[in-house]
Point group: C2
Chain length 417, copies 2
């Protein structure tokens, strides 16, 4: 267990463009816009100079503590390495090309994307080794997937239906490429083909299709990630993955190419190496944490998940203090989403933050606050659920010791297609 | 009650740039980007030509039926006119400069904005007569507000605190302008100063400040908009506005400039003319409708609010049909938000759509569907709550008779600051 980040990885993270001379660091091509254009957008919001205190930012402001994020990433890498697993982090969590690149630079073997538009946003901004975990069921999306494949031979996409596999092969042929695919094998009843003989049959079909290359399978169990208590989570995760592990073994036995068996997440990163054949985890939230993950409990603490540090916060401003026992802030559901449990106000355990209104947050004072809050005062909050909260913002302020170091566009924000 | 839209207003709506020659119509300056750049962004997603069937769009796709939207706007205007009220629609609902301009062109006296960044997005894209309904409690936001005021003498902003009024006046002086303000008078316990003597005292302070011009007051009752049943809604709306109406009369009696008494919404648009002194309603959802508003009931139907037609929908695609009684789609909380009641699947009363997962929607089959749904089939849904749902998208497809006519950027998307 290491919480140390090497100087070299930090240097990589910031890269040349983040040097002091730059106003804020913006990766050059952002959705096709130049750095100057992106900077123009950002200065509309707030003329943020490096070294600005995060407390001076206009709110609601999405911030990530870079020290904590880097330590989370380092801890994930060292734990997985010790367990013989790789990481293939999910960009649906951060939607940020700069962070994806850092994950790749610090040892991740690839980046998962949930949707084709998210994958496009990533590859257009220099992120390679993308594995798309959702199938593309329309002609248009298949065409878009092949356009990505033409840009990168490291692109992999999920498939779970023979008809779709045939369409993919035909489109790959038309595009003049061989497209890499993994079979999405269901855990639960959400996406994918149920574990069983049909999977091996589909794998055999894919293996014979001229313009597809079978790489293995995905099995993501979304539900188990938030199962409360390490022991319960472990038992459930290893139980639900068992039929899938058997299918994976069958694929190998049948002589099919089965080099990838990917799944798991931030709640099971230290469990999945016990699933036979498992190769890598699709961790997402570990770098940010949120109220949902803090509540699941870990090996060290049954009540709070302390494996990773909460690095992601939203700063809000008090707009009203006139009504007894209540504060109104400028951060509502468009700043936090409606996920539960409620946002946590850092340093104020006696506050219950309800972001139920679109534009406003309502704080109920349930204990004794650390001070008397006035209109204009700011508060820092841990979000209920990091993925959809990040998706509400156009950029994220990267801070170190509470000072802004970088401003990153949320490259894939809103790309739910 | 008219559902007729005149040819001239439709022509205004589409304006010259929407002529058939254009690929899609993009208002020229979008956050400072050129039309070509915005078009580039949009064609990344999908090469949408005018006349494309909405059923061919990659999903999740946010669509507005332009005929229905125009009819909703026309009905609102004719009803308000008959009642002697004006409309000052809220851009927090649509976040779209093109729609705001249409509202102004069809008779609205101004546009409300919830936050300073939203107001910036609107004015930068040619929307004038903005009234900011939330106060600006920081130096930076005050500076930004004055920058807008310098661009437009029609800008009005809310204030609810003497200290803030003095800061605004000082900033206005520094900017070389006189800034128009309205006092936000609370209804309930969310934003604003409670109705009472303090309001008149604040009005007198503002009246004497050299660089502020008092215009009147705002009183928005968010809670009552969704009160179920017309009679209950009317009783509550007129009761909660009463102390505010008294304060407004006192302001007038004291010789203060009180030309604006603004509030109300899509649930009380046909009630607020009975509040003494009321001048205009801050309607938002009326042009789109959503499941929340459909549920409030109206004068004609106690169970369904039929005053306006649902024009806003999200198209989704079936990704999985393998599990009995269930369908998985590609529209989760990032496409619909977590608001309740659940999204409504058009034409399928026997489906319960749960968008509780970030990337996926889960449909429970509770009745008999109209057909057997396959992977790749599409469904059209009414969103739970229009404001935050629109905020999840970068653009909206304007359709007529199910064919795409325009693609508008959601100009103020993510602008929650």
């Amino acid at each position: 267990m290491s919480t140390h980040t090497s100087k070299s990885s930090r240097r990589m993270f910031l890269s040349g463009a983040a040097a002091a001379s730059a106003y804020v660091w913006i990766p050059k091509p952002v959705r096709g816009y130049t750095a100057a254009e992106m900077l123009a957008t950002i200065t509309i919001d707030n003329k943020v100079k490096p070294g600005t205190s995060k407390w001076e930012l206009d709110t609601p402001a999405l911030c990530v503590d870079l020290d904590k994020m880097e330590q989370n990433i380092a801890k994930m890498q060292s734990t997985l390495k010790a367990n013989g697993l790789a990481s293939r982090p999910h960009s649906k969590t951060h939607k940020c090309a700069a962070i994806a690149k850092y994950q790749l630079q610090t040892g991740s073997i690839g980046i998962c994307c949930a949707k084709i538009s998210e994958a496009e946003a990533m590859i257009e901004n220099g992120v390679d080794k993308i594995c798309m975990t959702t199938s593309n069921p329309s002609k248009s999306k298949i065409r878009r997937a092949m356009a990505i494949r033409k840009k990168s031979s490291n692109f992999i996409q999920a498939v779970d239906l023979e008809e779709n596999a045939r369409d993919l092969s035909a489109a790959a042929k038309e595009a003049g490429v061989v497209a890499d695919v993994v079979i999405d094998v269901a855990v639960g009843t959400r996406s994918g083909i149920p574990a069983g003989d049909d999977v091996v049959a589909l794998a055999k079909v894919i293996d014979k299709l001229p313009n597809l290359k079978l790489r293995g399978m995905l099995s993501y169990d979304g539900g188990v990630q938030h199962a409360k208590g390490f022991a319960a989570r472990k038992e459930r995760a290893l139980k639900t993955i068992q039929p899938n592990a058997e299918v994976f073994a069958e694929m190998k036995k049948a002589g099919l190419n089965a080099e990838i068996f990917s799944g798991g997440g931030s709640g099971t990163y230290n469990i999945m190496h016990q699933a036979p054949g498992f190769t890598d985890v699709q961790v997402g939230s570990y770098l940010f944490m949120d109220m949902q993950y803090l509540a699941i409990g870990g090996q060290d603490d049954a009540n709070i998940y302390t494996d990773f540090q909460p690095s992601l916060t939203v700063l809000v401003t008090v707009l009203n203090n006139r009504f007894p026992g209540l504060l109104t802030t400028d951060g509502g559901s468009k700043a936090f989403t409606l996920n539960k449990p409620n946002a946590g106000v850092i340093g104020e355990p006696g506050m219950d933050y309800n972001a139920g209104s679109d534009e406003f947050g309502s704080i109920k004072i349930t204990g004794t606050p650390s001070k008397s809050y006035k209109i204009g005062d700011k508060l820092e909050c841990i979000v209920p659920h990091c993925d959809p909260a990040v998706n509400e913002y156009d950029w994220i302020y990267g801070t170190r010791k509470d000072k802004v170091e970088v401003v990153w566009p949320i490259t894939g924000r809103g790309r739910s297609q």
